[in-house]
């Protein structure tokens, strides 16, 4: 009862704040600097594409427009991310946060800023399994699947290639450890052997010692659960240089053109996966992104579009931009029953909701929210051939 009273009081205060503002603000908080800086511009562009689509239609909540405020989560510095989110909420008065990107900072923002202020957060890329069980007051959602799922998918991909023994190295944070552990348990369960499961620190000049230990443990391939612009690349570089491993398995954090550019032909034959589907929505979205002038197939770009779209559709479903009201509608607009909504059809979705109908937002990534509000998850299997990343299948 006390909690209910508090929430009501908080939402009342926020409502008063929102009424004073002219338009609705959505904060986009991503690591524009830091380990993910090479993919975050395409993520922000994705979210902004959805927002400009809704603004062009001009029908949201009877003609309100949405403005965007960007902030830097840094991906790794929890206190900097918290301060940035604090600014978005208290100074800018955003109704929802599209972000953050990395699991550690997302958890920090959720507990330090979003929960105390009662603001909805939809992350496109925080994939740590720990976030599933977090007590989030129903405020946190993610259009990316938990790494528990990615771990299982990666184990399947490796097993299907007839590989039975692997070495694993992960970046020493929530994302890396969560993914490495879920993969290791899934792979061992399927009968494979994990020869070593060792952490590496980001931001070092030299990884030959780490690679020495990995090489000593052996394994047919090396699974690198790290970041593409950080230690992950350093590990691969050192492993290629010393001839320790020839084939690398690259999960979502390691997916990026910069890796191929930096390492070159030695990466041929390496494979991996990152969230994505072959749904109609994915193709439409890639096309829309190309027209808007950015790469929509870049990792988590489509998830960002979907995250922003879900926020706005839920606002329409609730008939309010108050986070306390629309947080309960995110699950219902994302899932069945209702008319399926693809990218580019946000105006149609708003129209249906306005007339009291139901929608099932499919979006660019075939969104299906399960559990406490996270994507069920489908993945693109990639392989590097002749210096280019090719999509070889979907899981």
């Amino acid at each position: 009862m006390k909690k209910l009273l508090l929430t009501s009081a908080a939402s009342f205060a926020l409502m008063a704040g929102a009424a004073a503002a002219q338009d609705i603000k959505i904060g986009i908080i991503l690591g524009f600097t830091g380990p993910l800086e090479s993919i975050t511009p395409n993520m922000a562009a994705g979210a902004e594409l959805a927002i400009s689509e809704v603004n062009e239609a001009g029908t949201l909540l009877d003609g309100q427009t949405i403005s965007v405020v960007r902030a830097d989560s840094t991906c790794i510095d929890a206190s900097a991310a918290t301060a940035a989110a604090e600014r978005l909420i208290t100074a800018e008065g955003v109704s929802a946060l599209m972000g953050a990107d990395c699991s550690g900072v997302t958890t920090a923002i959720l507990h330090n800023v979003a929960k105390p202020n009662g603001v909805v957060m939809v992350s496109p890329s925080a994939t740590s399994p720990a976030l599933s069980a977090d007590d989030d007051d129903g405020l946190f959602f993610r259009t990316a699947p938990s790494d528990a799922r990615q771990g299982a998918v990666m184990a399947d991909i490796i097993r299907d290639r007839g590989i039975s023994s692997v070495a694993v190295t992960y970046t020493n944070n929530d994302y890396g450890k969560g993914l490495a552990d879920s993969f290791a348990s899934a792979f061992t369960e399927a009968g494979g052997t994990v020869t070593i499961n060792a952490a590496h620190e980001d931001g070092k000049a030299d990884y030959s010692a780490e690679v020495g230990a990995l090489a000593s443990a052996g394994g047919e391939v090396l699974v690198v659960a790290g970041y593409v612009d950080q230690g992950g690349r350093g590990i691969i570089q050192a492993a290629v240089d010393t001839g320790a491993f020839d084939v690398f398995v690259l999960p979502d954090g390691m997916y990026g053109e910069s890796l191929v550019e930096n390492i070159g032909s030695a990466l041929d034959g390496s494979f991996g996966q990152y969230p994505g589907t072959d749904s109609e929505g994915a193709t439409t979205y890639a096309e829309m992104a190309r027209e808007a002038g950015f790469d929509g197939t870049s990792a988590f770009s489509a998830e960002s579009y979907d995250a922003a779209a879900l926020i706005m559709l839920a606002m329409q479903a609730a008939g309010s931009s108050n986070p306390g009201d629309f947080k309960d509608h995110i699950m219902s607009v994302a899932n069945e029953p209702g008319e399926e909504i693809l990218p580019g059809e946000l105006a149609k979705g708003i129209e249906i909701l306005k007339n009291g109908g139901d929608i099932n937002y499919v979006g660019a990534t075939a969104v299906e929210l399960i559990g406490t509000g996270e994507s069920a998850g489908s993945y693109r299997e990639i392989e590097i051939r002749d210096g280019a990343i090719e999509i070889v299948g979907y899981r």
């Binding site: 030299d206 010692a209 020495g212 230990a213 000593s216 001839g243």
Partner: protein
């Protein structure tokens, strides 16, 4: 055959990287030891001097590359190195004029000079960040390998590969040349002799008519050359990032102290001791052992004494042990 394989694995993951790293540390430690021997204080700004010199090298390298100048199979950075040494020497001489000279005149205690160098360190830290930023840069061009692992395997028919990067060879060759030149300079030339005299006994040196300002200036110029060369070699071999250069201060000081502060031979020995202990202590010997003892089943564990995360702890521990049992270092350096 198995013994050869074991040897190759060991060389690939320990011997070659540790030798290159040792040479880089030795050059860094030589600079520290020179300052300590002649100016009589521990220069905490040395790591950032290396970063500054490397930054200038990278900037000049980019300019050269933009102008289409390359150095064949060798990295272009080697062409940029002399320019960078000059700029770094100017910076050090300027710092000496503006900061250190005052404290030398008032004959400040060494500990005050150490604190002063700490301040200089922060200024240089900021200079580098203003100049090039905090990101990681790779500026190695030219041929990457002398022997790569695949070619080695095909050539020898061994199961294990050995990779020798060209930067590792360049590191070693450059280090040998620089060290030889430094020793020749200290032993044979008039200026070198006066520097050694100044280091041994300042008052006597002054009495015999040695110009102290000249000795100090030459010391800074040599330090600039050593620091820039060490920094560039480290950056070529690994990568340049302002923060990692700052962190290099610990192993460099450990090398200089283990060898005996003030002793150039000690600095070189210390550099290799620290490099080899850091790498061997954190190396997992499982693969080597499996080859040497083929009858036994492969050992369960990794045969690794310490996780690689504790690399810096190794140099720290050696530093403490040496300070406890042989405070003047292995080669009897000076005591402050």
């Amino acid at each position: 055959m198995d013994f050869l394989n074991a040897l190759v694995v060991f060389a690939n993951f320990v011997l070659v990287p540790a030798t290159a790293y040792g040479a880089q540390l030795a050059l860094g430690a030589l600079g520290v030891t020179l300052i300590f021997g002649i100016l009589r204080f521990s220069n905490f700004a040395h790591g950032d001097t290396m970063a500054f010199g490397t930054m200038i090298t990278i900037l000049v390298t980019w300019a050269l590359q933009a102008a289409g100048v390359t150095f064949g199979p060798l990295p272009t950075a080697l062409l940029a190195l002399p320019v960078a040494v000059g700029v770094t020497a100017l910076l050090l001489l300027g710092t000496d004029r503006m900061v250190y000279r005052f404290y030398r005149k008032v004959r400040a205690a060494p500990v005050i000079l150490v604190m002063v160098s700490l301040g200089v360190m922060f200024v240089m830290n900021a200079l580098v960040r203003f100049g090039i930023g905090v990101n990681e840069y790779r500026f190695d061009d030219g041929a990457r390998f002398v022997v790569d692992a695949r070619t080695f395997r095909e050539m020898t028919g061994l199961a294990e590969g050995l990779a020798i990067r060209s930067t590792q060879v360049i590191t070693l060759v450059t280090a040998v040349i620089v060290v030889a030149a430094l020793f020749w300079f200290l032993k044979r030339t008039r200026t070198g002799k006066s520097m050694r005299a100044f280091s041994d006994n300042e008052d006597l040196a002054l009495l015999s008519g040695i110009n102290p300002e000249r000795v100090v200036a030459v010391t800074w110029i040599i330090t600039a050359a050593l620091a820039t060369t060490a920094g560039v070699l480290y950056g070529l071999d690994k990568s340049f990032k302002a923060f990692t250069y700052f962190q290099l201060l610990l192993p460099i000081f450990a090398s200089a102290i283990v060898g005996g502060l003030g002793s150039p031979i000690g600095a070189i020995a210390g550099g290799f001791i620290i490099a080899f202990s850091e790498i061997t202590v954190t190396y997992a010997f499982k693969r080597v052992v499996t080859y040497v003892v083929p009858e036994n089943p492969a050992p369960e564990g990794l045969m690794q004494l310490l996780s690689t995360d504790y690399k810096f702890a190794v140099s720290f521990t050696i530093l403490i042990i040496v300070l406890l049992f042989k405070p003047t270092g292995l080669f009897k350096g000076q005591q402050s």
